[in-house]
């Protein structure tokens, strides 16, 4: 166990090292930060001075070495835009992203397991077909479209009047297909401070209303995938010999489904799922942009737009770290669920 974690720590460092080199190597293509800092009428001489001051004229290796020495002491430099250490900027934006991912994950798990299991148990039921059909649509609609549709429907509201308004049944039907709107369309509202830079949206009902639309649209990417994965795994397990044998023994179907079959279904789901939840952190860039959710994704896009190179490099390294961490946790959980797996990879 300890050996495993040490090895993973080493992996994380390696990943961050490689990412930092790549990010540094492409910085010339990210645009000129000076251009973003000064107004249009600033003469070239002033710009050259500022460039020199920021050390942008030094050769690549000198710049990288300076960065690496500081980074080894946990100093990742100052953001050009925020005028603060990049780590502080990211620490301020991280909780928003993590809360969004947590809310989306909660939706995915609570919806995909029952739906997936149901459509595996009753593959021919019309409800199962409906779920499968909708999940195809869901998987093929890009997340920003989902997000904008949600805003139109539930934040702005839509009123359709295909039925005669002057009749009682007509206006009732119009009311059924129209939406009133009223959900918040952007941002986090007034999150409640917890400690440090962590402010939460989970503490109040108002905070939760801000979270609903972004979380639903973020979940809409992974949910169909999870439903299909769980359904496929469950169908396979239902065909296996031990389930047939259990049925032959006369064990109640409920016990077979939820005790024996489900457990084995979840094994691959955990592996795939854990990795996918990690990538959700990356997907938040789109969702956060549309909902103007003040998390890391939005911050990263702004940083690219403004050529804030120190912030871009730090963000990429931290996302790399998050991937390593989630993978490690997935491996640990996998070990718990399936004790025959040895973490260090040595034969049992």
């Amino acid at each position: 166990m300890i050996a495993f974690l040490v090895k993973r720590l080493f992996h994380a460092l390696l990943v961050m090292f490689v990412i930092s080199i790549i990010a540094f190597a492409i910085q010339d293509n990210l645009g000129d930060p000076i251009q973003q800092m000064v107004g249009q009428s600033v003469p070239e001489s002033e710009r050259a001075e500022l460039r020199e001051e920021l050390g942008l004229n030094d050769p690549f290796l000198v710049q990288y070495a300076r960065f690496a020495v500081n980074a080894a002491q946990f100093d990742f430099g100052y953001s050009y835009v925020f005028n603060q250490p990049t780590t502080e900027v990211i620490a301020r934006h991280l909780p928003a992203t993590l809360e969004l991912v947590a809310a989306a994950t909660f939706l995915i798990i609570t919806l995909s397991v029952p739906i997936g299991v149901y459509s595996a148990i009753k593959p021919r039921a019309w409800l199962s077909r409906f779920f499968m059909g909708v999940s195809i649509v869901g998987i093929s609609i890009p997340v920003f479209l989902t997000a904008i549709m949600l805003i139109q429907l539930f934040a702005i509201g839509v009123s359709w009047t295909p039925f005669p308004v002057d009749t009682a049944w007509g206006s009732w039907l119009n009311g059924v297909i129209s939406t009133e709107g009223g959900m918040p369309a952007y941002g986090r509202g007034d999150p409640v401070p917890v400690f440090g830079t962590w402010e939460t949206n989970f503490a109040s009902l108002e905070g939760l209303t801000y979270l609903v639309l972004p979380a639903v649209s973020l979940a809409s990417i992974m949910l169909p995938l999870f439903i299909r994965l769980i359904r496929a795994e469950m169908l396979e397990v239902m065909q296996s010999d031990y389930v047939k044998f259990a049925r032959a023994k006369g064990i109640s179907m409920r016990r077979i489904y939820f005790l024996h079959a489900l457990k084995n279904t979840m094994l691959p789901v955990i592996t795939v799922g854990g990795v996918q939840i990690g990538t959700l952190v990356a997907y938040t860039i789109l969702t956060e942009t549309v909902f103007q959710w003040p998390g890391m994704g939005l911050m990263f896009l702004d940083a690219i737009e403004r050529s804030d190179i120190p912030l871009i490099v730090t963000y990429l390294m931290i996302v790399g770290l998050i991937f390593v961490i989630t993978n490690t946790i997935v491996d640990l959980i996998y070990g718990l669920v399936n004790p025959t797996i040895k973490l260090t990879g040595k034969p049992a």
Partner: protein, 525 residues
């Protein structure tokens, strides 16, 4: 209290019922929730010369004078002014004005502020004509320029007196409080004390800034009745509009052209548009392409472009077609200059110049800097194809584009320009003057157009204090640029703001795009 009930059906088909309780406590105070596409980069109003910083300046500070609707000067902290001689102007200052900190506003603050502007990398270029500023008494200053300078009042719109006592001394970290730092954490970038209608109550950069009405604001005649402002940056166009339409914010700017109709038709919002002063145009690089040295070829290009089609169809009417740099109201504007779209004439000119078979050129444009910038470039490329010019177009995000622009990386490059001084001479100085890296002239002249006579004329206009004579000179410059087809002007980009019906933005917005929010009136909802 209002309770709104929303039934939420998620796209995936799973049904989620949720009850949204949106409560708005009854408020006696007027709170304006507004969303811009970006928030100001700093609280130090001398750190960057940009639209965002100037918008902030008009909230937390007051200028000496400001522009009114008719592009005339309106007294603010300067109550009166007179020219003593060609190079000296005496300004009387308003008495009894207090800074947010409680310090009294005096002539020393004006001197201190102008001297700080002369140190600011962004402002020092436009404050270069000023020789010295002296306080005659507590409420009188004298500004002396190096040579007779006609634009002194234009400069005064950039002087937002800062609280010199508040910004003197050393901050906790030992740095002087008045230092201007581009990429650091200076005292002035975090703290603000001006005379303006609002104080900064709280600021989370990139997330939200909260302003409170200055209880001791000097301008008691201002009709403004807004007590609090919450500014949230929403960079995504669709989201900014949705936030307004759903009632989450009361005021947004800019309104993206694709949503103009939607906002105009909405019952809950009102739209205000105005012809702007930012000219969008193409440079034709004479150094890279020999053919562009022939004025007939440049004219042919100018004749081939249909500005009206671009303004009508591409910009959906959200632009004013242009035949010159200067918009209406500027000294150099010539009313009679007409758009010259004429394809036959363009072909004739190409034939005369010996290029009837056309030639190949490269073109570059940004794709996220101006409204529809990439589409405009595509349209122009298609129009040039009609005179047998084969265009190789590439479009880049603005962060990358400006580097290419400085390298003059293509034969035709698109740029938009707003004159910081709101004056015609500025266009020529930066965009069509003979490039000279030492003086900084023609810094953005990606066409390498060079006409020393025009340079001399503009230099002369810049020391001409007589406004009528000066206007005649600048009009001559504009006419020559048109005749020689130095550039291909396309249009002035319009400006648009939108607000909820109970917020009367129309009287406070202006062509400079610095809404005078201190004078904003909100009706009861």
């Amino acid at each position: 209290m209002t309770f709104k009930k929303t039934l939420l059906a998620s796209v995936i088909g799973a049904t989620l019922a949720s009850t949204a309780l949106l409560s708005t406590a009854a408020q006696a105070e007027n709170t304006l929730r507004m969303a811009y596409d970006a928030d100001p980069v700093s609280l130090d109003i001398h750190e960057q010369l940009s639209g965002g910083i100037l918008q902030l300046s008009h909230m937390t500070h007051d200028p000496l004078v400001r522009w009114n609707d008719a592009l005339e000067f309106e007294p603010r902290l300067a109550s009166d002014w007179e020219r003593i001689d060609d190079t000296t102007m005496r300004m009387s200052l308003r008495e009894g004005v207090e800074f947010h900190s409680g310090n009294a506003f005096t002539a020393d603050d004006v001197v201190w502020t102008i001297e700080r502007l002369q140190r600011s990398p962004d402002f020092k270029a436009i404050f270069d004509p000023i020789e010295s500023v002296t306080a005659v008494d507590d409420y009188t200053v004298e500004i002396t320029t190096k040579t007779p300078y006609p634009l002194l009042l234009n400069l005064a719109t950039y002087v937002f007196p800062m609280d010199s006592a508040f910004y003197s001394g050393e901050a906790e970290d030992g740095d002087p409080k008045d230092e201007i730092v581009k990429n650091g954490n200076s005292f002035a970038s975090r703290n603000v004390s001006g005379t303006g209608p609002y104080t900064v109550a709280d600021r989370q950069q990139g997330v939200r800034t909260e302003f409170e009405r200055n209880p001791n604001y000097w301008d008691t005649e201002s009709p403004g009745n807004v007590d609090n402002i919450i500014l949230t940056p929403i960079s995504e166009n669709a989201t900014r509009v949705a936030a307004l339409l759903s009632g989450d914010v009361d005021f947004i700017a800019p309104v993206p052209p694709n949503d103009l109709e939607r906002v105009r038709e909405s019952e809950d919002a009102q739209l205000v548009t105005m012809s702007g002063t930012r000219i969008i145009f193409f440079h034709m690089n004479q150094e890279r392409v020999e053919a562009f040295q022939d004025p007939r070829v440049r004219q042919a290009f100018a004749y081939a472009v249909n500005q009206e089609a671009i303004a009508d169809r591409l910009m959906k009417g959200f632009a004013t077609p242009a035949a010159q740099f200067s918009p209406e109201g500027y000294a150099g504007h010539i009313e009679s200059l007409e758009l010259r779209h004429d394809l036959e004439r363009a072909k004739e000119l190409m034939a005369e110049a010996g290029y009837e078979d056309g030639f190949d050129i490269t073109m570059m444009a940004p794709n996220n800097r101006y409204v529809n910038d990439a589409k405009i470039a595509q349209a122009v490329a298609a129009m040039l194809a009609r005179i047998n010019v084969n265009v190789d177009l590439s479009t880049l995000p603005k962060a990358q584009y400006w580097g290419e622009y400085d390298d003059r990386a293509a034969d035709m490059m698109l740029i938009g320009w707003h004159a910081d001084t709101e004056d015609s001479a500025n266009f020529h100085e930066y965009l069509t003057a003979c490039p000279d890296p030492d003086t900084g002239a023609g810094q953005y002249n990606a066409g390498n157009y060079c006409n020393p006579e025009l340079d001399a004329l503009v230099a002369e206009a810049n020391v001409e204090v007589d406004r009528a004579k000066r206007a005649a000179m600048l009009q001559e410059v504009e006419q020559t640029l048109y005749d020689e087809a130095a550039i291909i002007p396309l249009h002035w980009q319009d400006l648009a703001w939108a607000s909820a019906n109970h917020v009367n933005i129309e009287p406070v917005v202006n062509v400079m795009n610095f809404p005078y929010l201190g004078d904003l009136v909100m009706d009861a909802e």
